[in-house]
């Protein structure tokens, strides 16, 4: 990522491919099912996508530092069951405990990978097994009991506001010193270390924020499903990685935008919906999903003109 000139405000939207993919998928969906484009339907779909949106942003954030979080699905499962188990003590308690738990679990992964110098892929692989086991202990079988008021989180225009809030939050964060450090570490950890960037605290913070986002994702999941399930997050880990990669966040780190990751999650839902709309057997879902995922990535090799830059009048003092 080249540094914008002083005083210039640049919105990094990442790779162009994802936006073209989302538009193409949207058009195909509308052709197959004209009623697809109704606002209520789109909002409903966005509501069901929210858990994945949060998970994709959490994963993308970690990936920007050249790390990966294979425990993200298990953290969602665990915080999801914590919410349903603690809901008797009041909604606020349950939500606060879940978010604190997510943050701590994330920070722990960050501490293990930085202070013990273990590759994040393998630390989080081991942790995913641990958290999945703990989730099964907390709640062995699925249980309902999330109050109806929770569904307000994923109803109406709220999903749109939440997604926008997430996007704006990221655009702000990317402009802070912390955001620059994330990109610096992702580009070259050795160079960042030499330049005096605190590697440990930055990475631990990234993992902690990612954990908090996963807990929020679990909250959205509790809202859409109305209950807790110790296996609820198991498929989300790889979906979130797919969403982030589809959104142009590079595995090598230091490249991409979390706005892309949000759209990556949307693209995956559009693919799922596409299969559903053709009336094909649900068995074809995996086949089409896999083919489109690989196809989109193969095409991005040719279509990617690295960054879309939107020059906007400078606000405040510019970048430092």
């Amino acid at each position: 990522m080249t540094t914008p000139a002083r005083g210039q405000f640049v919105v990094n939207l990442g790779d162009a491919t994802i936006y073209l993919t989302v538009i193409a998928l949207f058009i195909v969906n509308v052709i197959l099912q004209p009623r697809f484009a109704q606002v209520s339907n789109l909002l409903y779909l966005l509501g069901t996508t929210l858990p994945l949106v949060f998970a994709a942003v959490a994963q993308g954030l970690v990936m920007l530092t050249s790390s990966i979080d294979l425990a993200s699905g298990s953290i969602i499962s665990l915080t999801n069951v914590l919410i349903v188990v603690l809901i008797g003590h009041g909604s606020a308690t349950a939500i606060v405990v879940a978010i604190v738990a997510g943050t701590v679990l994330g920070a722990l992964a960050g501490l293990l990978t930085t202070t013990l110098r273990l590759p994040s892929i393998i630390v989080t692989l081991a942790l995913s097994s641990v958290w999945a086991g703990v989730a099964l202990y907390v709640l062995p079988t699925p249980k309902s009991g999330i109050p109806n008021s929770f569904s307000n989180l994923t109803n109406g225009y709220v999903p749109l506001y939440l997604s926008l809030a997430l996007a704006v939050l990221w655009l702000w964060l990317a402009r802070t010193r912390f955001g620059r450090r994330i990109y610096a570490i992702g580009s070259s950890e050795n160079a960042a270390y030499t330049a005096g960037i605190p590697i440990v605290s930055t990475k631990v913070a990234v993992f902690a924020i990612s954990g908090a986002l996963l807990a929020l994702g679990a909250l959205m999941l509790s809202s859409t499903t109305g209950g807790g399930d110790p296996l609820s997050g198991s498929s989300i880990t790889l979906e979130a990685i797919a969403a982030a990669v589809l959104g142009g966040v590079s595995f090598q780190g230091g490249k991409g935008s979390l706005i892309g990751a949000i759209f990556g999650a949307v693209a995956l839902t559009l693919i799922t919906n596409l299969v559903f709309n053709t009336g094909a057997s649900a068995f074809y879902q995996g086949v089409v999903y896999g083919i489109l995922l690989v196809l989109a990535l193969a095409l991005s090799r040719f279509t990617a003109r690295r960054w879309i830059r939107m020059p906007v009048p400078a606000i405040g003092g510019g970048l430092r």
């Binding site: 590759p119 097994s129 086991g133 050795n190 193969a298």
Partner: protein, 330 residues
């Protein structure tokens, strides 16, 4: 051998060992076998008879499937990649063997067909990774999803049929030697020769150590990666076939139970997840460690949740002992 004759790749050499030995250092492989013996002794203490030949051979047979999958995974991880499609391919072979054979004993070419299809899937993985520069993790994830879905489409969602009688008979556990164990031994020898005693193996290490240096040394990476991913897919298919013979029926979700352990076994065995260092000998120790731990927990009547927690913590502990990376330097 001609075009790599001048490449001095020393896969077994730990870069750190060149430094003065300030503290006790042992190679990851030695440490892995030490850990395997240690967990075995713990098992013997908790459950007398654990290390007896009867129980030990049962454990070996049970982990053989993981050992076969992990052989392919070892090759892939040494090149610096990862193969998430092994779960789908294993399930494909495990479900389609009884489905296509339907209990007939004469249909052994079906097994050959399954292996050929698996090899083709591995080639597709490699094409995506080399030609289209898709990250291995995401390419194999996509192919795995396609295979998982294809199995459901092909069978209409219900796994029926019986594996050929000879396969079921030879995989059954009789005495201390089983077909599972024999297959694993054959695979182990093959994997060892291929990885440590062939030009192909040297290229695998060279690519994993530094793709750039390998290219400059005249190694074209795509034929090697093609071989590596095809090998991994074929190993997963063989694991699925022998598992079908052992279990007697197909199970759509069976692959997932082997995916993460296959990666865990490779890494516990001292192969660097970053590529370039390791070997299959260590992976065997990793497979044994995971198998023995699982067996101890099963004998101790610990529920699935506790087994997952213990397995994760064990992997973490072993990694802390010897899989740490070097300190950041300028």
């Amino acid at each position: 051998m001609s075009d790599v004759a001048n490449v001095d790749v020393q896969p077994e050499t730990d870069i750190d060992s060149a430094k003065p030995k300030s503290r006790l250092r042992m190679t990851p492989t030695v440490a892995a076998y030490g850990a395997a013996v240690l967990v075995g002794v713990v098992g013997q203490i908790l459950h007398p008879g654990f290390l007896g030949s009867a129980h030990l051979s049962t454990v070996l047979s049970l982990v053989a499937v993981l050992g076969i999958v992990a052989a392919g995974q070892t090759f892939v991880i040494i090149t610096g990649g990862i193969d998430l499609s092994v779960s789908g391919i294993l399930a494909f072979a495990e479900v389609m063997t009884p489905y296509w054979v339907q209990g007939h004993s004469s249909r052994w070419p079906i097994l050959l067909l399954i292996i050929v299809i698996a090899a083709a899937l591995g080639v597709i993985n490699a094409i995506g990774i080399t030609v289209f520069a898709i990250q291995p993790l995401i390419m194999t994830l996509g192919v795995g999803a396609i295979v998982d879905g294809a199995v459901l489409v092909l069978t209409g969602g219900s796994s029926t049929g019986l594996p050929p009688a000879w396969l079921a008979h030879s995989m059954a556990h009789n005495g201390w030697l089983s077909g599972l164990l024999i297959t694993w031994v054959v695979v182990s020898v093959l994997a060892y020769m291929l990885l440590h005693r062939s030009t192909f193996g040297r290229r695998v290490f060279a690519i994993g150590t530094s793709p750039r240096a390998a290219r400059l040394a005249g190694i074209r990476s795509w034929p090697t990666l093609l071989g590596v991913y095809a090998f991994s897919a074929v190993m997963a298919a063989i694991a699925g076939i022998v598992l079908a013979g052992y279990s007697g029926s197909g199970d759509f979700g069976i692959g997932d139970t082997y995916l993460f352990p296959s990666i865990g076994a490779v890494v516990i065995g001292g192969t660097s997840i970053l590529g370039g260092r390791g070997g299959y000998i260590g992976t065997i120790a990793g497979v044994l460690i995971l198998g023995v731990i699982d067996s101890i927990l099963t004998l101790s009547n610990i529920a699935a949740a506790g087994r997952q927690i213990a397995q994760g913590l064990a992997i973490l502990l072993i990694l802390i002992l010897y899989a740490r990376e070097r300190r950041l330097r300028q």
